[in-house]
């Protein structure tokens, strides 16, 4: 569109973080401006952001799927238009010596959790339910966002965490000999047991009704960012460093990433398939690990771990089944009392044509 670009604010939870790389990439590579959108990012608390979108104060945001269900059940007219995280990012981490390998092993164990709300709580309840257990079968302990510290000091035997970040942190501590007897960790992914909706792009019903073109454009730009990040993590990391502090403290690392990014662009020009690209990421990490220490690489590895959660055959596509599982879990938890029309909670209509 040749008109003046629309000013738009995209709400995202928390604070700038490497996990938001696709948005940074989409801005920096011009996907949003191509779509006629001049994007600003606003961070904040998830319920606040959702309320603002529902109230029409904002139009777009990145919000968890279970939040959308709960919000719609409470009269917030929001719609999920792009399933960004294809896998639910929550899991349970446990030092290997605790012999917790499957969900069943959690029985009677002391398990840490940030708090009895939000995605981690939904996740653990779903995991237990999928394995025929309930909350009362384990000892849940609210520990805030302090899992590495508490796990390494043996305060809990396992902890509900985001599988792309904390297991890595704990492993790094273990490798440095700072995690008690722990040398390795086991991770139980909830997505292996239950397919639930996770973070995605949402908007409100008014925007969909009044300006579907805008929704389509924003989804397209967002999708471009996700795809580019999956394809070239080194480049995504470099772009993210413009938004997130503390990512590039080592100049040699930056140089290496630039080289890798250029090489990956050449590789992508050959139209490799999804597997080949995935393999290229693994190879990249191996090369970098030879040159740089764990501390320098940690955020990059978080990015790679997160990319695994996004990657799918059809990016952004949401299945009704996963919504049903999520809603069921919320009902189990007592968070959801009323029956909701899940089909109205999301739509795949705005996804770019395949």
């Amino acid at each position: 569109s040749a008109q003046t670009p629309t000013d738009l604010t995209l709400f995202m939870t928390f604070i700038p973080n490497i996990q938001f790389a696709p948005v940074y990439v989409a801005i920096e590579k011009g996907h949003f401006s191509d779509a006629g959108v001049n994007l600003t990012i606003q961070h904040g608390d998830e319920p606040d952001g959702l309320n603002l979108i529902a109230a029409g104060e904002l139009q777009f945001g990145v919000i968890g799927g279970e939040q959308v269900i709960l919000a719609r059940a409470n009269e917030r007219p929001v719609v999920y238009v792009y399933e960004w995280f294809q896998k639910f990012p929550v899991g349970v981490v446990a030092p290997s010596q605790n012999n917790i390998v499957t969900a069943a092993d959690l029985k009677g164990r002391k398990v840490g959790i940030p708090g009895l709300f939000g995605a981690s709580y939904t996740g653990i309840v779903a995991l237990l339910a999928a394995n025929g257990m309930t909350e009362s079968d384990i000892q849940l302990d609210a520990i805030g966002f302090n899992a590495p510290e508490v796990v390494c000091l043996g305060g809990v035997e396992a902890s509900v965490v985001y599988i792309n970040n904390e297991p890595l942190q704990i492993q790094n501590r273990a490798n440095a000999g700072q995690c008690g007897d722990t040398t390795a960790v086991n991770v139980i992914s909830i997505s292996d047991a239950a397919d639930m909706v996770s973070n995605g792009l949402i908007t409100n019903e008014a925007t969909i009704a009044e300006n579907p073109e805008l929704v389509r454009n924003v989804v397209a730009a967002f999708d471009g960012g996700v795809q580019d990040s999956i394809n070239n993590p080194a480049s995504a990391y470099l772009f993210s460093a413009l938004y997130v502090e503390n990512l590039l403290t080592d100049e040699a690392f930056e140089t290496a990433l630039k080289t890798e990014s250029a090489a990956q662009d050449e590789f992508l020009a050959t139209n490799p398939d999804r597997e080949a690209i995935a393999a290229s990421r693994v190879a990249l990490l191996e090369r970098l690990s030879e040159q740089f220490d764990a501390e320098t690489l940690v955020q990059f590895r978080v990015l790679l771990n997160t990319i695994d959660l996004w990657d799918a055959d059809r990016l952004g596509y949401s299945e009704l089944a996963s919504w049903e599982v999520t809603a069921e879990t919320l009902t189990t938890m007592g968070f959801l009392q009323t029956q909701t029309d899940l089909e109205a909670a999301f739509t795949n209509d705005f996804l770019p044509a395949e």
Partner: protein, 274 residues
């Protein structure tokens, strides 16, 4: 003489005015609350914001009734209240003791100021890992956050109160060879009382928010937890119910301090001329 603590009027003629004043003083706060309620009702009726951002009073009242009936409100209130009271107890005690010592030994102020100020001005979340490790997810960490926020105003007002005890009265106590303890209980405490009570009023109010902040960091019960929970469940009415309950707790604590004030500072109103 029942009204002597309230009425500062000494001329009998003006006593009626005093009685009238008393009536106004009871009535006005209620009126203010009523007006706020009315304002709230009007705002929701004008639909300036959607009901899920500012729900109408009636929705909140219903929710209040519901959680009151199912016992959840009382459960969470209890959890918070016990943290608030313990926090208040610990914080005020520490503040009084340390404040007294600092007032007496300026050197102690110099030595401790950096430490105390650091404790006060840095966010508790920064120490969250240590707190969780040391105290687990039990109520201890909320007691600590509550005590911490209460501690400093108590300390400061204790220092000010004790330092401003009139020197001639100190001379009197010295001349009468009063022991340290006697000087403390019979001179310093009563003389510093107005300022101490002021500190206590601050403390009583801040203790509540302190406990709530603790509950935000890690907790599985309490009104702060209820707020987080209700927020995550998009139950705005429940958020407001929890907020109102917190305000009521604080109001009651404040009122208790006011009662204490009327009791121990009765002499002030007695001794006043018109």
């Amino acid at each position: 003489m029942q009204q002597s603590t309230l009425s500062t009027i000494l001329n009998p003629i003006e006593r009626d005015a005093g009685a009238q004043k008393l009536w106004v003083r009871r009535f006005i706060p209620a009126l203010v609350m009523l007006m706020l309620l009315l304002f709230w009702q009007i705002v929701t009726m004008l639909e300036i914001y959607p009901a899920f951002i500012i729900p109408p009073p009636i929705d909140v009242a219903e929710k209040f009734y519901a959680v009151l009936l199912d016992g959840r409100l009382w459960l969470h209130t209890q959890a918070t209240l016990s943290a608030v009271l313990s926090g208040l107890g610990v914080g005020v005690t520490l503040g009084l003791v340390l404040g007294y010592l600092i007032a007496k030994h300026p050197l102690l102020e110099d030595s401790l100021a950096p430490v105390i100020i650091s404790l006060q001005s840095t966010p508790i979340v920064a120490y969250a890992p240590l707190l969780v490790i040391w105290f687990g997810s039990g109520p201890t960490s909320k007691v600590i956050t509550s005590a911490l926020i209460v501690f400093f105003p108590t300390l400061m007002n204790t220092v000010v109160g004790i330092r401003n005890v009139p020197r001639p009265l100190h001379d009197l106590m010295r001349a009468l060879r009063a022991s340290r303890w006697q000087t403390f209980t019979k001179l310093e405490v009563p003389a510093a009382m107005p300022v101490l009570i002021g500190g206590l009023k601050i403390s009583a109010t801040l203790a509540v928010i302190g406990a709530v902040v603790g509950e935000f960091i890690s907790a599985n019960a309490g009104l702060g937890f209820l707020i987080t929970l209700a927020r995550s469940q998009y139950d705005t009415a429940l958020v407001i119910v929890a907020v109102i309950t917190l305000a009521i707790i604080a109001r009651i604590l404040y009122w208790l301090v006011t009662l204490l004030e009327r009791h121990v500072l009765a002499w002030q109103s007695r001794a006043r001329t018109i």
